[in-house]
Symmetry: none
Subunit: 242 residues, 2 copies
DNA sequence: AATATACCGGAACATACGTTCTGTGTCAAG
DNA sequence: CTTGACACAGAACGTATGTTCCGGTATATT
């Protein structure tokens, strides 16, 4: 095995990586034995040995006789920080603000209530309650003024693969083409729902995304109001207990 | 002595204050006995008693039999200055140009193959295949370097409410906390899957998001490799025919 | 060849630490 | 008054954990 006299060896890097990951995941430091496991070292003394080196080199600090007291003092990261920094700076400078759209969050969408709609004439813009989307994520043709965001409340849209807490970006329209996912208000059911829209010969079929559920047929077009069509769904995953 | 039925008592507040201060000063959590000293309580059992209450109320979390494993989950109120200051600073600092993150798209995630992972040392950055996310959409603490994106191919993740064509933003880690959605590679099944992660006494439970499907139990932790945890899901809805 | 140094495993040890059990006093509800 | 929940102390217990000592191997230096 190659011998390295100074600088960080592979083991040191793996330990540092593990320390960061572990702290990031658990919020506290691993024990010596846990570190050993992560790098396939059986003896605690060897880990202690490495940790002392890392401490002397200033990468970590730890307290005597205190469990899980390792603190990361210096990030390892040989080069990538530089590369990332450069590319990041260039890209940011180029991308500037042009690429970032502010989309107003109008409220929540619930099955039992109509959607809060942005007033079409009054283009009120409240930066407090807006969400930022990179333009590159959206179809190029969408006009920003017609976009708005809603937070989904409840599980009623689960058949559309949309969860409680999801954010849907919608485009205001009262027209829809076949196959588009639309938010519709059903007069006779008194509810808002997200469905795929299909206009058939003399009726409208609203198809749930979940294939195991049957479609809804609307014969009277007047009892259905298309509020908008879904452009994007964003789910920020946190620790969801089941 | 006055009795308080609900909410935080004075002791709880002093403990929370001490936890924050201690972690701030030392970088790791205090032991039960150290907490006891700080609030002039002699018995460890009483501190344990308070800590259990704080945990039930969601202010902290801790792991059984693990030293100094207390994590602060919720800041105590009445100190808006600090929280507001931090968030404000973060938001202002980030608002300028920093708001747009470039996240590399590493490839596709399929049930039958391992996920392509970014090499942890080589931070290759290909602007051609990257996706732009507004930082404000992500939890503030996520480190950009650990994030990468994958496009989902196939319906195998449908039980995780993730569709064919969706983009998942993942964070590279090999650790997971209970309740987080992780991408794991199962050796014995030879497949990658997205499941909610739960560590139980001597096994690991992988719970599909779809309640109608049963969990997978993994008794041998070595046969399971956590590739990362899901931070966000983005679905660009186009006209999907059904 | 002899020696030194880095690298590694095992085991023993002391203790820091979380958990649990028992007991005590207080106060409010029944 | 009795009962029971709540708040608290003390001690005992088991173990998780850091430390240390001892032995071993490989590589390089002299």
């Amino acid at each position: 095995m190659a011998r390295k006299s100074e600088g960080l060896g592979n083991r040191h890097k793996r330990i540092m990586r593990f320390l960061i990951d572990f702290q990031n995941a658990n919020g506290y430091s691993p024990s010596i034995r846990e570190i050993g496991e992560s790098i396939n070292v059986k003896s605690t003394s060897l880990v202690d040995y490495y940790l002392n080196q890392l401490e002397e080199l200033g990468y970590i600090s730890r307290e005597n006789h205190i469990s899980r007291s390792i603190c990361i003092k210096k990030e390892i990261e040989s080069e990538p920080s530089l590369a990332a920094k450069v590319t990041g700076a260039v890209q940011k400078a180029g991308a500037a603000l042009d690429d970032l759209l502010q989309i107003p969050v109008m409220g929540r969408i619930v099955a039992s209530a109509p959607i809060p709609m942005p007033a079409s004439d009054l283009n009120y813009f409240d930066p407090e309650s807006s969400i930022e989307i990179a333009r590159s994520l959206l179809p190029a043709k969408e006009k920003i003024e017609d976009l708005f965001a809603l937070e989904v409340q409840g599980d009623s849209m689960i058949d559309a693969m949309i969860n409680d807490g999801d954010v849907v970006i919608m485009k205001r329209t009262n027209q829809a083409q076949n196959g588009e996912m639309v938010a519709v208000w059903l007069d006779d059911k008194d509810e808002t729902t997200l469905k795929y829209f299909y206009k058939e010969q003399n009726r409208i079929r609203l198809q749930p995304a979940n294939p195991s559920m049957g479609p809804i047929y609307v014969n009277n077009p007047a009892s259905l109001r298309i509020m908008g069509k879904v452009v994007m769904v964003i789910r920020q995953v946190q620790s969801i207990a089941i």
